[in-house]
């Protein structure tokens, strides 16, 4: 590792070996709900699944609902290509995630929590069950009426979309619902529900332990704290890294690239491809969301070197989307099929190069009319690849 020049500050918070669940719960119970919510809001923590909704606000909105029955759900349906950090968090520090869930439950007034775990991660279940037993003992000791269960997914990427996840838990096809209403009002079983990503809940442990101020010291304006990144592709050091938000893609490539980096896919197949010429101008964070200047991410960072064909990359993504589209709304179901067929036809010379412009228009339509984030975000990778590597799409 000494040969790799290190620019970026490695953070060690999430995976730090700490076992203070009881203390954290006790401290949270000793404070008023309003105080704990303020701490979460002040931390600036935003959802680490990729969408970036402020976590404190989510808890606050759900706490304001009058319903007696409410739920806390940990979204562990990690399926975005290039993302594997939630698996690592659930393997190494599941108690931090559970502590976050329990504190959230106390604040919003929930007695029941679920971890929706993707089917591909079923091998984690024995250890998670062991951790759950230990955690439930702690809850009993503190006299807290809250229980967490594991609900297994069965291999459907779309179930990571929160409303599709509720449908799936309710025993139905994982088809996303219309929004609004949002889960904070109508979620699982039509009850107010906080649904947070695994990493978000683990960060809440850090915030409750060290305070909002310490968390805010990391990152930049609007993108506070650290983030766990899943690094893969053409890199000598693939793996899981906790880094500060706000870094430029150039800094990232200097640390993780193989010296021949052509492009970086930020945020998985549903994210953006950043070509070399934009490395210095693009930062990783939430500010300026979707403008292409500062990119939000669930943590997937896939590195491509100059040996890679961007046509093959896009073909692989579209093949993924076409299969994983739930098929419920036409723009996404037919759109994904047509995009895949379209780029193949252009590559084979059956359609003129200008057909790519029609396909770009189609992605604009999908962005506007698809029912959920899946169909809306296909445009991200499609346009960023086709616009920057048009030649590779044609020849």
């Amino acid at each position: 590792m000494t040969t790799t020049k290190k620019h970026l500050h490695r953070i060690d918070l999430i995976f730090k070996n700490e076992q203070d669940c009881k203390e954290i719960l006790r401290n949270a119970l000793a404070r008023s709900n309003q105080e704990v919510i303020n701490e979460m809001v002040n931390s600036g923590l935003k959802g680490r699944g990729g969408a970036g909704f402020p976590t404190g606000l989510k808890w606050k909105l759900t706490a304001e609902q009058k319903d007696k029955e409410k739920y806390v759900i940990c979204n562990a349906d990690e399926g975005e290509p290039g993302t594997f950090k939630d698996r690592e968090i659930l393997t190494r520090v599941p108690h931090k995630v559970l502590s976050g869930m329990a504190v959230c439950a106390q604040i919003i007034g929930s007695k029941k929590g679920y971890i929706y775990l993707r089917g591909e991660y079923r091998f984690l279940v024995p250890n998670l069950k062991k951790e759950l037993r230990k955690f439930h003992d702690i809850l009993d000791e503190l006299g807290l009426d809250f229980r967490v269960e594991i609900f297994m997914g069965s291999g459907a990427y779309i179930c990571g979309e929160e409303s599709a996840l509720f449908e799936s838990m309710e025993g139905k096809r994982g088809e996303p619902r219309n929004k609004p209403p949002f889960p904070t009002e109508i979620g699982y079983m039509n009850k107010p529900t906080v649904i947070n990503n695994v990493e978000t809940l683990a960060h809440s442990y850090t915030i409750l332990k060290y305070g909002a101020k310490k968390f805010r010291e990391l990152g930049v304006k609007d993108s506070r704290g650290s983030k766990v990144f899943s690094v893969s592709g053409d890199t000598p050091i693939p793996g899981i890294y906790e880094l500060e938000l706000g870094m430029t893609v150039q800094d990232f490539v200097d640390d993780f690239g193989d010296g021949d980096t052509k492009a970086v896919q930020v945020g998985g197949a549903s994210g953006f491809l950043v070509p070399r010429k934009r490395f210095g101008k693009t930062t990783i964070g939430y500010q300026g969301k979707l403008t292409g200047i500062s990119l939000p991410t669930g943590g997937s960072m896939m590195i491509f070197n100059s040996s890679r064909s961007m046509y093959n990359v896009l073909n692989n993504y579209l093949d993924f989307f076409e299969e994983e589209s739930c098929g419920q709304c036409t723009p996404c179901r037919v759109g994904c099929q047509q995009l895949l067929k379209g780029i193949k036809a252009v590559k084979r010379g059956e359609k003129p190069a200008s057909y790519l412009d029609h396909l770009l228009k189609l992605t604009d339509t999908m962005k506007l009319t698809a029912k959920c984030g899946l169909g809306q975000s296909v445009a991200n990778s499609f346009s960023s690849i086709v616009e920057n590597f048009r030649e590779e799409m044609i020849y």
Binding site: E78, G79, E80, P81, G82, T83, F84, R87, R118, G119, E120, Y121, R122, F123, F151, M152, G153, S154, G155, A156, Y157, S168, M169, E170, G171, K172, R173, G174, E175, M189, S230, V231, S232, G233, D234, P238, G239, I240, Q265, A269, M302, R308, N312, V313, N316, Y317, D319, F320, E323, E324, C326
Partner: protein
């Protein structure tokens, strides 16, 4: 009561007849039989008092709830971008040569089925595959054959 009837009956007794129990029940049948036969779907529908079309419609949404015959060991090779870049085609080829079947097929002795699947979440250790619930990573054409040989020679 045959084995399947008892299996479905026990699963419904354990999880209940509410619609929320459907996925755990379907998963329970898959655990034992590796796929959901038409008979199994009809039995679940009857025990839970919901239309068979709803059971079938739900099952076919999920890639792990197979409705076609599957072998005792379902091999799922990841085909998403990083695994594709790191040689998943050669891995598939090695598996096909070893088992003498193609992707999507099941061996005559019903021991193995080969499938491709979307991102398994092991991109940093690509290429990766699942054999039922067990994960194998950083596969090579040699290692994948060694792994499958062990499965073939067990019991």
């Amino acid at each position: 009561m045959d084995f399947q009837e008892k299996l479905v009956h026990d699963l419904v007794a354990k999880h209940g007849t509410d619609r929320e129990s459907l996925l755990p029940i379907l998963q329970g049948v898959i655990d034992q039989e590796r796929y959901l036969s038409e008979e199994a779907i009809l039995k679940i529908a009857k025990e839970m008092s919901i239309p068979a079309a709803d059971v079938y419609g739900t099952a076919t949404f999920y890639s792990f709830l197979d409705t076609d015959l599957r072998g005792k060991y379902v091999i799922r090779v990841c085909k998403t971008i990083t695994c594709a870049m790191k040689g998943k085609n050669q891995i598939i080829q090695a598996i096909e040569n070893f088992l003498k079947i193609k992707v999507g097929e099941t061996t005559v002795d019903k021991k193995f089925t080969i499938l491709q699947t979307n991102c398994l979440g092991w991109c940093h250790k690509a290429p990766a595959m699942l054999v039922n619930d067990d994960v194998y990573t950083e596969l090579t054409e040699e290692s994948v054959v060694d792994i499958l040989r062990e499965y073939r020679e067990e019991n």
